[in-house]
Point group: C2
């Protein structure tokens, strides 16, 4: 059994209005040292599989077909044996 940890981030070239809103809110809280906030998604799930390579293949398939929008988003996968 493996644990897949997936980070989905907007591509650098895509504007992130949600991140901008958070940046303003942070500044309004009084923290002025924070800039360039980018919001993304984080997904964790368990994958059955004989090997890490197999778990990675399943995770990539799920990312490409369902979790990430390949036009606007990048994904980053970490696999951990559990």
């Amino acid at each position: 059994m493996f644990l897949s940890k997936v980070k989905i981030t907007l591509r650098k070239s895509i504007l992130d209005p949600q991140g901008k809103a958070v940046e303003h809110a942070v500044s309004a809280l009084g923290v002025k040292s924070v800039h360039d906030v980018r919001m993304g998604k984080y997904i964790e799930f368990r994958v059955e599989g004989a090997s890490e390579a197999e778990a990675k293949r399943a995770t990539e398939e799920v990312c490409k077909k369902l979790l990430a929008n390949p036009v606007m988003e990048d994904y980053h996968i970490e696999i951990e044996k559990v």
Copy 2:
């Protein structure tokens, strides 16, 4: 300048209906090896600061006051020098 990478996850004891919905969708796609999907948020931002400890303090403040709901969510911080 530091880059803060924050993962926000629902606490284990909190039900995650969004994760359940993704799990069903993954299964409907034909991938049967994926279980226990948990959805979270991923936030990246730059922090000005003299030291990693200072950047971490600012990041923790932002997490506690704004990004995470401490009743339902946990946060995990990574700081990277950039």
